[in-house]
Amino acid sequence: MCTVVPISLTVGANRIVPTVAIPHPLGNPALPLEEEQEIRRKLLDKALKALTTEVSEQTVFE
């Protein structure tokens, strides 16, 4: 899970989930905690989907 997807592609990650921002990939300090946690859930759901999806090459889960 990362914000700078091109770096993850360069280093060879196979399942990539784009995130919010470099200093807070899984949160957004501009939002109240509950909304931030909702963002975190959405991103982690994507990560779990990535882990349960067969891939044959580097894949970005938008």
């Binding site: 899970m1 990362c2 914000t3 770096i7 993850s8 360069t10 280093v11 060879g12 990650a13 196979n14 399942r15 995130t19 470099i22 200093p23 807070h24 990939p25 899984l26 949160g27 300090p29 931030e36 946690q37 975190r40 859930r41 991103l43 982690l44 990560a47 779990l48 882990l51 349960t52 999806t53 067969e54 891939v55 044959s56 090459e57 580097q58 894949t59």
Partner: protein, 349 residues
């Protein structure tokens, strides 16, 4: 000025002793130049002369590394050289290892400058590029003439004790040494020049070559995530408050392993980031923004995932060498497998 005395080291093949069937040829020495030494001698002109050639079979050398090195060094020093040239070995692996070993030993033990030449993928390159100057050559002996053109003047420079320039100017394989100097044009101008050259399809030289990263086959998908143990790993530098392992804020020399049994939320008073490459304010206030322990605990409780692994692993991915990162990954991976972890979520900043 007297001519520099040069000794040339070559294998059985270039000495025309024989091919693979003579690869066990024991070290011997001959007066003057042999084989490719002729081209070097000509290129030296009146500045240097090959006074002797030391020959050894590639298999003999590599199978008897210690004794062969000692024997070859003895033969080389008997000529009292000012300079030693080994090879070039092009893409011949054993020859490359022999040339690298000989050149490095000559510099280290005889205190005489020594160089060699190799194709960039010769295994001798990675083993010796930090110890000696290795001139980059083509991958076969067809590149001999070009190799001599670069190696001979470079060797003379080294023997004369002249200042050695950057690898791109001199033609040696980068040895990892960086030298500070003042560039005439400032960085932004150089970057735009490079970009324009790139857009125009013209050649340009990067000032920071990226390392070659390897690729791995994707792992099969997790069949039942509700039974899977998931571990968290991060290059975002999340550590218990106070950074107990003193993980460096950049160019990390280590990673940390932290027990999160009974931890349901990372708070300002319990966790922080050690990372020096991004604004730490948001992670220090709530480290779940980098390492999502809070939501994964929720998922664990709801049965959405099997289990959050008891430990998380963390380092700072800021200027950290690829070789270090690779070593940490190997060590962490081994433990995760041994602990029965099914999947890893790696967060990076």
């Amino acid at each position: 000025m007297a001519k520099f005395r040069v000794v040339h080291y070559i294998n059985q093949f270039f000495a025309q002793v024989g091919g693979e069937e003579k690869a066990d040829h024991r070290p011997e020495s001959r007066e003057g130049f042999v084989g490719p030494g002729m081209a070097f001698n000509a290129a030296f002109g009146d500045k240097a002369e090959i006074v002797g050639t030391v020959i050894c079979g590639d298999s003999y050398f590599n199978e008897n590394l210690e004794t062969a090195t000692k024997e070859v060094l003895g033969l080389i020093s008997s000529f009292k050289p000012d300079l030693v040239i080994a090879g070039p070995a092009f893409n011949a692996g054993r020859y490359g290892m022999a040339c690298g070993t000989v050149a490095a030993a000559v510099e280290r033990e005889l205190d005489i400058p020594a160089i060699t030449g190799m194709y960039k993928e010769n295994p001798g390159v990675d083993s010796f590029k930090k110890d000696i100057y290795i001139i980059e050559t083509k991958n076969s002996a067809a590149g001999m003439r070009d190799a001599v053109k670069v190696m001979a003047p470079f060797a003379l420079k080294l023997a004369a004790g002249e200042e050695i320039g950057a690898s791109v100017e001199e033609g040696y394989i980068p040895n990892g040494i960086r030298v500070n100097f003042f560039e005439e044009k400032r960085g932004s101008e150089r970057a735009v020049d490079m970009l324009l050259a790139k857009l125009a399809g013209k050649p340009f030289t990067t000032e920071f070559p990226m390392p070659d990263f390897d690729r791995v086959e994707p792992k099969p998908a997790i069949v039942d995530i509700s039974k899977a143990t998931i571990a968290l790993v991060t290059s975002g530098g999340i550590v218990p408050k106070g950074n107990p392992d003193r993980i460096e804020s950049s160019s990390a020399s280590k990673y940390g392993k932290y027990d999160i049994e009974g931890v349901f939320d990372l708070t300002e008073s319990t966790y922080e980031t050690a990372h020096g490459g991004y604004d730490p304010v948001y992670a220090n206030l709530d480290a779940d923004r980098v390492l999502p322990v809070d939501i994964l605990r929720e998922y664990e409780k709801d049965g959405k995932i099997g289990k959050l692994h008891r430990y998380f692993y963390s380092t700072t991915g800021n200027g950290t060498a690829v070789a270090s990162a690779k070593a940490y990954a190997a060590a962490i991976g081994k433990e995760l497998v041994a602990d029965g972890v099914d999947a890893v979520i790696l967060t990076s900043t």
